[in-house]
Every structure is written in structure tokens, then in C-alpha cells.
Symmetry: C2
């Protein structure tokens, strides 16, 4: 077992009534002049954006809007955000959306107090010394960025584009507001891609050379089974609050390092997929689903028993005690079918 640090300081406010607390959370964490950062039209169409703006206004919190964040969020938009925050002397970023918006907000947060080019952090040329305070209202459960220390930005100003990540505790969300009701309208494809990303965040930790951290394994398997079951059921029952809630909370726990305690994570499939989505604009979860089976078959002989454990404890495959390799392969097939 590896020694580990566990640090997940984000205040999560979860549930149907959670959005009532947005402006008081902004205040609590020091915000009085806010960059309201969001993606496309869905936040506007759903009424969430107006609701937040109204709440901020009636609580005397000023804001400037910056929408238009795209999936695989771009460096050019980050530069735009940095300029706006400096121009308007803003002191807080409120991200409304999924992982792309949150990651874009993190990059702006690192960039504003930094004299150099924010891309330095992603290219490994510098380490952030500080970050603006950021909070989020999550609308797409998938990336786990609401509780993670990571963020991924695509440099769209070079050709071919580069999709690189930066991991740092300073950019962690101060708070994350999560209302499962907001995820009812996610289309089936995006729901499925999100579920895949969520599961992969835990699977990329689970397939570790460390196999003696029983509690982390048990929690990871519990999370994977639950999200898998709910992911299957929600496609034919998209307005089921119970199912949406498990997926949403599962997305945060899958990537806040809870399932990494005592393990050495791998994240090879993520690394491969980032190249695909940088070059071809692939939906991240779909890219992961396409790649994982090949990765698994390529590495399974390094630890057949681990893949057999996954097959039995997560995929419900019958354990062939006499032939762990066939059990392991049946698990990989079951996950591909899923």
C-alpha cells in the first residue's frame, strides 16, 4: 500500500433546494464582484442562468458574464476571461455548467494573478503560486472537476491543438452546488458518456499494482456497481431523481481521490483519449469507452487476479476459480457490452 494524502476541502451542497444557497455561498467565500462563467445556451434555456443572476442581484453581488465555453475548453476563451477579470477587478469566479466550464474557470483563476502566460502551467514551465477563489453550480455529472484538483485545457492557438492538464490544490472549488433535477434534460448520449467518464475515473485508480488496500477497493467496487446500475436504468427513466442523484454524487466521489487512497493511479486510457479528443473533437466519455477494452487486454496479464476481481465484484461475472484469465476476459467483455 502506498502512503497517501487525502484532501477534499470543497463544500458540497447537494439536493433539490441547493440552488437557494448560491449567493450566500459566494459571499461566504469572499465574492462580491463575480465572473459568471458558463457554456452554451442550455444554462440560459433551462432558466438556471436567470435564476442565479437574479439571486446575485438581489443580494447586492455584482457580476460580469462570460459564456461560450465549448466542450474541450479552449485557451483562447481562458485568455478572454483573464482580460475581463482584470478589466472589471472581479474577485470571484462562479462556474455554471459541467467539467469544461469548471476547467476553464480554474485556468482563468490561475491566470489572473500570474504575470506570465497561463499556458506555462499546462506545459510544465511553471507552478501556480495562487488562484482566485472559484465556486461552481454543476449541471453535467462526468468530469468530477467540481471536487478534483485537475483541469484540462485545449490550446487552440497552435496546430495541431494540444490538450494538456494541470493538477494543483489551489484551484479546487470552494463550493459545489449540485441539483440532480438539473440533469433530467441531459440527452442519452451525454448521460452515457458521463457515466463512462465517472466509472473510468475510479477504474484508472482501481487497476493499480497495489492490491492490499481493502477499504479503497471495497468503496471503489461499491461506487462502480452503483453508478453502472443507475447508468443503465436512467437511459429509459431519465427523470428518476434517485438514479440521477447517485450518478451525480458518484461523479464527485469517483474523482476526489477517495478511490485512490493507498493506490498508484494509472490514467493511461485518459492520456490516450486526450490525444483523440484534441485531434478529432471526440466526446471524452465516448473516447474512453472505445479505448478501454484494448488497454485492458494489453495489460491484463500483469495482474490477472485484479481483472478477475473486477469481473466478479463489479460486473457480476461468475468466478471461474480454475481459470482466472477467462474470468478476467469475461469481465472486460461485460464492460465493453455495457
Amino acid at each position: 500500500m502506498k502512503d497517501f494524502n487525502f484532501y477534499a476541502p470543497t463544500e458540497v451542497v447537494f439536493g433539490k433546494e441547493s440552488e437557494q444557497q448560491i449567493s450566500s455561498l459566494v459571499r461566504k467565500y469572499g465574492g462580491s464582484r463575480v465572473l459568471l462563467h458558463y457554456g452554451g445556451e442550455s444554462a440560459r434555456r433551462s432558466g438556471l442562468l436567470d435564476f442565479v443572476k437574479q439571486q446575485l442581484t438581489s443580494d447586492g453581488i455584482q457580476f460580469t458574464e462570460l459564456g461560450g465555453v465549448v466542450p474541450n475548453p479552449q485557451l483562447s476563451k481562458v485568455y478572454e476571461g483573464i482580460d475581463i477579470v482584470r478589466r472589471d477587478s472581479l474577485d470571484f469566479i462562479l462556474a455554471i455548467g459541467g467539467g469544461s466550464v469548471i476547467d476553464s474557470a480554474k485556468a482563468i483563476g490561475y491566470g489572473v494573478p500570474y504575470d506570465g502566460d497561463v499556458w506555462d502551467f499546462y506545459s510544465g514551465r511553471a507552478q501556480a503560486k495562487t488562484c482566485m477563489p472559484i465556486g461552481c453550480v454543476l449541471t453535467i455529472p462526468a468530469a468530477g472537476s467540481e471536487m478534483s484538483y485537475g483541469c484540462v485545457i485545449t490550446n487552440d492557438l497552435v496546430s495541431p491543438p494540444l490538450k494538456w492538464s494541470y493538477n494543483c490544490d489551489l484551484g479546487r472549488m470552494r463550493f459545489a452546488v449540485m441539483n440532480p433535477l438539473r440533469t433530467y434534460t441531459l440527452p442519452p448520449y451525454q448521460t452515457a458518456a458521463g457515466v463512462t467518464d465517472i466509472m473510468m475515473h475510479t477504474m484508472e485508480r482501481y487497476f493499480s499494482h497495489h492490491t492490499d488496500m481493502l477499504l479503497t477497493d471495497a468503496i471503489a467496487e461499491a461506487l462502480l456497481r452503483t453508478v453502472k446500475e443507475c447508468g443503465e436504468r436512467v437511459l429509459s427513466d431519465p427523470e428518476n431523481y434517485q438514479l440521477r442523484a447517485q450518478i451525480m454524487w458518484g461523479g464527485s466521489l469517483a474523482h476526489n481521490n477517495l478511490t485512490e487512497c493507498g493506490l498508484q493511479k494509472d490514467f493511461a486510457t485518459h492520456g490516450l483519449e486526450h490525444e483523440l479528443s484534441a485531434l478529432y473533437g471526440v466526446t471524452h466519455g465516448a473516447g474512453l469507452a472505445a479505448l478501454w477494452g484494448s488497454w485492458a487486454r494489453y495489460v491484463m496479464n500483469d495482474n490477472i487476479n485484479r481483472f478477475a476481481q473486477f469481473a466478479v465484484n463489479v460486473c457480476g461475472v461468475r468466478n471461474d476459480f480454475s481459470d482466472p484469465a477467462s474470468t478476467a476476459l469475461a469481465g472486460i467483455r461485460a464492460m465493453e457490452d455495457f
Copy 2:
């Protein structure tokens, strides 16, 4: 399912090498003049106290010692600590020990910046506005105070004594250093009482009227099964790092609210036990073990299916689908036997 907040900001540093980081953690969280707070002779005998003092000294951190915290920590000792901190203008509390020492440290932390009597917080007469920064080096996994917002103090200055608790986010540990090696020397009785307390922290949340938060249930059951198995095995194998590590980390996760997300906790057995230990000095975990079966039989008819689920998923009882009550009772008996 209940709406919930999840907030667990403590930085956990876990493992064999974790103690190397103590003084740098104290510095990171603003400590330069430290109250070194501990219990009896075990911290001294084990060499841990000397190790910490040496580390602080060589890093130029001043400290004043206050030992002598007893199980069911007392208000009189808290007053002593408050006086010392004020006298020596200390700016940080470092607790070395188990839940009693950590709870005593929390009470001192609340008391120092408060003009009135710190007991006001426990008696419900006031709410803390601030707390000194506190970190801990955990040596006894049981109470979960290293990641919880609670603390329990016994007012030994009244007769009969009062054992009351105070819950507040302000007193949360800034960091918790946990080295399972330090728990090898815990006697079997104390190990077993600790395991009972750990499991009860999750069971008092699990037996909720909310039964639709699948992910929390799955995590709670995973935690209970793992700690139960390791608790049984460690009694005959006390120097097994793997077993000690699961119990130690399980103790933190059992009480940092992870297993409460979406549920309404009960804590009736804890409430009953606090009276017993205040009056008779009972070891908390032993008191819980003596009481739980009676509590469970008293309430089980309110939700037989929940107790049957516990019996099957935690205790490994065979499910009698035709008679949930007999399944439930078999689970209660299995837990009592354990």
C-alpha cells in the same frame, strides 16, 4: 433522500512516512508557537512525543506541553489548556493521541478566543464564532474526531458529571497525520472497543428512514464489512499493517459524514452510551456494544427491510425472503456475537 452538505476539509497524511511531515504541516497551517496536547504515558513511552518535539525544535517551532488528558476528557483540563495558551500566546494546537485528546484540543481551541465560559457551547448557551487552528497526530482509531466536526467533553466540575457534545465546522482539524504502525501496541480490548465505535458511527447513520440513497448505502456496507473483517483478524495478528491501516482509515471515513450523505442520522445509541460513560467511566466502544442489540430490537419493526438488508449485506446472513423479520433478527444476533 435528504438534501445534504458534505464538507471534510481536513488534509489527511496517511502512512508509514507520514510523521516526517508534522512540523511542515504545522507551519503550513500557520503555527509557530504550539500547544502540544496529549494524554498519558503511551505517547512518551512509544517515543512519538520525543520525535515530535525534536522535529518542532529543529524547525524552529516553539511549544508548551500539556499532557494528562484522560478518556472521557474533562472540562477542568480544558480550562487549564485555555489558561496556558493565553499565558504563552500560543497560536496553534497539536493534539497527539486519540479522540479524547483531539476533543480536548477542540474545546481549548473554541475557548481561547471566547470571552465567556467554553462550557456555554456544550450546554447550548452560545455558538462559537471562531476557533484556533488545530492539527493532530492520531494514535488510536476509534472516535473519528480527526475528520469530524464533533467533540465531546465531560464536565467533571458538577455532580453527577455531564458528558455533552458540541458540533461545529470551525473546530475541524487542519491536518491529521495517521501512521498505522503506531496502533500496533493498542491492547486487544482497546482495539475491539475502537472497531465497535467506528462501526457504530456508520450504523447510526445507516439506520435511517431514508433508504433511497443507494451510493451511500453501498459505501457504508463496504466500510462495515471491511472494518468488521479486519477487526476480527487483527486481534490474533496485531502487527499486520494491512489490517491496522483499514481500521485506521475506516475510522476517519466512518465519521466524516461520507456515510451520512442523503440520510437522516439517528445516534440514539451514542446518546444512551454517553450517559453511561459519564456516570460509570465505561469505555465508549464497550458501552455501545452492550447497548446496540437492545436498541436494534426495540426499533427494528419500524423498518424490518432495512435490518434485513444490514443482516445480508454486512453480516453475511442468509436472506430468508419469506420472513424478513427472522433475517433481521439473525443479523442483530450476528452483530452481538461479533
